[in-house]
Symmetry: C2
């Protein structure tokens, strides 16, 4: 598959701050002319124009994400910053999209990567672009606040471990949802624990009392949002009976528990056992919704974990993914490059022996060609002055990687891929909201043909050049021999 | 080997901002009591105490980096942020230290990871902690400005490609270093190019004119800091002759070129060829310093690249490392955990079947034990109330991983590893500067025994507990069965 593009949104372009110029003066050679620093202090992006694929678009190798025009010095200064803004954003959005494709549309995916990201701000980038790639929520509360991403978390092991006995539950009373007198939820849960343990044929004394105290305390505080973390002690003999007891006590008072979470062991297998127990409780105690209680899992989840869940047939409804999402261990970096393709109106070329690394010269128009089924089947680069390809019209093209031969294609639809977002120092097209970008990413992925979208051994997506562009390439190559 | 610890420096601890509390109110269940939000708005770190290993210390698995004491709610809120601050910082400092160990003390290491880091701020963390781990400089100018890290960069391919002919060199004159009339540096370099090409037996017309124009322009601007990027075109026939020509022209005016850089191909092999050419020029034109011109390399350098350089015997003096430094592909994350070890004065334990994951209960003192040669040979955890082990005195300990048996050791020196840096909401010990931390990291690494320090198959470093701490562990384990 391709990559989901992510760009930071351009800010306004103030000219260089005096402190920055002073710093540069302190590190540049003493022979540097004063006029240069004066020039730097007036530097801005007022002559820069940036066109780009819409944020969230699927982009294939060799197709430019961005085209940047402007004074050479200014656009060279932008190189590393633009690469920094595009590379990780696109990498993690793509990684998130892969998890989403594997998980299917219904499983909830929670980003939980803060602790392994490159510091607090690296983590914010991770949260934002994971959301664009198709995650549903983040555990990073600051990312929620700054970007309006839904925040989700669960109860912590240390919260449960901080309780050691039932005496620690203070207060014990909860008002029924429909009103009425407060009820001792602890006593009610204790009574339910007996009935649950009887049903499950597990000894009630094996259900950890500290854990029960923690669950009851949590339920009294958040009666409509009770979630049980099951694996601080034994899941089968402690976590699950304690959860069911508290959830059934809450149910008696009109509240529904919202889920359980597992953080260790064989997650797929355990999810099936938990579902059986929830189903058994639901049937026995006549609480039909009980069997649909969402099961959330975490614990170093990777693409491979998701594939195992599918293979084993799990009952998992929510997945929390941290390290393997934000550090992208399958490919820890995206190596976009920023190359000079035209200077003073003349297209140029960096020669290389590796055709795969060859730049495509000149200012280009980029078109995405769609087939009759609505799938994109080729991206085509053309010279700016060439007429746009037209729907239904045959095109003669050369596919990168097989430049020696021509191909003929007839697109059903033609879409110009780049939009000009920034012209003469100003944002000139409304920038989409985060939600719009997220939706665009999902749509871009969904219209790919299955052969291009599959994660393993996808069919290579052809990227082609027009005959005119190919002629320019050949001329420049010969000129620089 | 162990890991180099890195902590962000604690800031002052303001209580929660009203906007943060308002945001939490908007996302927490509507049943949450008002008193909780009022409590949150008064929350601060005034009851928190943090002890830690000095920043830059080598830390081994199972030894706590930090011990945090305070109200349970507050220290639980700190969990993810502390892990985020410690994990990546320590990971990238460790990765940098591995590169430093491989490169040896004399090779200059330049961090160049901005474009592949997790956004601009992730990149700043990468620069700071790579410097701590032993790098000499960064290409991230903002990191240089903020943290006072030396900045280094080189000429870019796009700068060279932006020149196509000698006419573009404006101005052409340079004043000799010792004063006098301005000299046409371009004419001088052209004359030297003839002589260099004759010596190297390469046709002068193959030396790219755009490249020569770029070199001359750069040299006129920075005559005392001229560096040549050799591989925009053919290194042997263009980059190297053009560089030597300009450097010899500069030399004639009293200036010394500061280096060359290679960014593609077989770097070790080419460095040897380049050194031969520099030596030949130095001898033939009687410029002795020419043969010591530093050779810098870049291009996806990894640990494996450094091992190849050593194996092939290279002439490389400076190495720029980006992606493989900041994304740590050999291990993209460091999985530190934050565990509850004592609550209300009682030590506690999270049971697990995996002895490697077992937490060590209670507030602990941690001692590093040194042998007579000055190498640390064991880290020892003891209960806070136990007397400190004394130099020269035999200790009975149990090594983690072999808890079933006791060992006897006699340390020559004993060092308490943790210092209290933050007490009751205040930094209570002077925090070291970045340079001091960097020095401490190099010293910590240098005193490791070679068996513990080697990168491949290092000897495991023993981490032990005292008999008393072992008894506590056993008691708690039995109690929770």
């Amino acid at each position: 598959m391709g990559r989901v593009s992510g760009h930071h949104q351009p800010q306004s372009s103030p000219s260089s701050a005096p402190a920055d110029v002073a710093y540069l003066r302190s590190v540049l050679p003493s022979t540097t002319e004063d006029a240069f620093f004066e020039y730097l202090s007036t530097l801005d992006a007022s002559e820069v124009t940036v066109s780009a694929v819409p944020e969230g678009s699927v982009v294939f190798a060799r197709v430019p994400f961005l085209q940047v025009k402007g004074p050479l010095l200014v656009v060279q200064l932008l190189e590393t910053m633009l690469l920094c803004l595009v590379n990780y954003a696109s990498l993690v959005a793509t990684n998130a999209a892969r998890f989403r494709l594997l998980a299917g549309p219904d499983v909830k995916l929670m980003e939980m990567g803060l602790r392994c990201a490159q510091g607090p701000d690296g983590a914010l980038s991770a949260s934002k672009y994971s959301y664009i790639g198709g995650f549903d929520s983040t555990s990073n509360v600051l990312a929620g606040k700054l970007y309006d991403i839904p925040v989700r978390g669960t109860i912590a092991h240390s919260f449960i471990m901080s309780f050691t006995s039932l005496e620690e539950v203070q207060p014990r009373e909860l008002l029924p949802r429909a009103g009425g007198d407060p009820v001792d939820l602890l006593a009610l849960a204790m009574a339910w624990l007996q009935r649950v343990c009887e049903l499950l044929q597990t000894p009630p004394e094996r259900a950890n009392r500290g854990e029960l105290a923690a669950f009851v305390s949590y339920a009294i505080t958040f009666p409509s949002d009770f979630q049980g973390l099951l694996d601080t002690y034994c899941v089968r003999r402690s976590g699950l009976p304690n959860f069911c007891a508290v959830a059934l006590a809450l149910q008696q008072l009109g509240y529904r528990a919202i889920g359980v979470r597992l953080d260790s062991g064989d997650l797929a297998q355990q999810s099936k056992e938990i579902r059986r127990v929830l189903r058994a409780c639901g049937a026995h105690f006549q609480v039909p919704w009980f069997e649909t209680i969402p099961i959330a899992v975490s614990n170093d989840i990777s693409e491979q974990s998701l594939e195992e869940f599918i293979r084993e047939g799990s009952e998992i409804d929510m997945i929390g993914i941290g390290t393997n999402l934000v550090t992208c261990p399958l490919q820890p970096s995206l190596g976009c490059v920023y190359k000079l393709v035209e200077v003073n109106g003349s297209p140029c070329l960096k020669l290389t022996e590796d055709e795969e690394k060859m730049t495509i010269p000149g200012t280009k128009m980029i078109y995405r060609l769609y087939d009759a089924a609505g799938h994109p089947f080729m991206d085509l680069m053309a010279l700016e002055e060439e007429p746009s390809p037209r729907a239904g019209q045959e095109l003669v093209v050369r596919v990168l990687g097989q430049l020696g031969e021509t191909s003929k294609v007839v697109p059903t639809t033609v879409e110009p891929l780049h939009h000009t977002y920034f012209r003469d120092g100003q944002v000139c097209e409304p920038l989409p909201s985060l939600t719009e970008v997220r939706t665009h990413a999902q749509v871009s992925l969904s219209i790919l043909s299955p052969a291009h979208r599959r994660l393993h051994d996808p069919q290579p997506y052809p990227v082609a050049v027009t005959e005119k562009l190919h002629q320019l390439l050949t001329t420049l190559q010969q000129a620089s021999q």
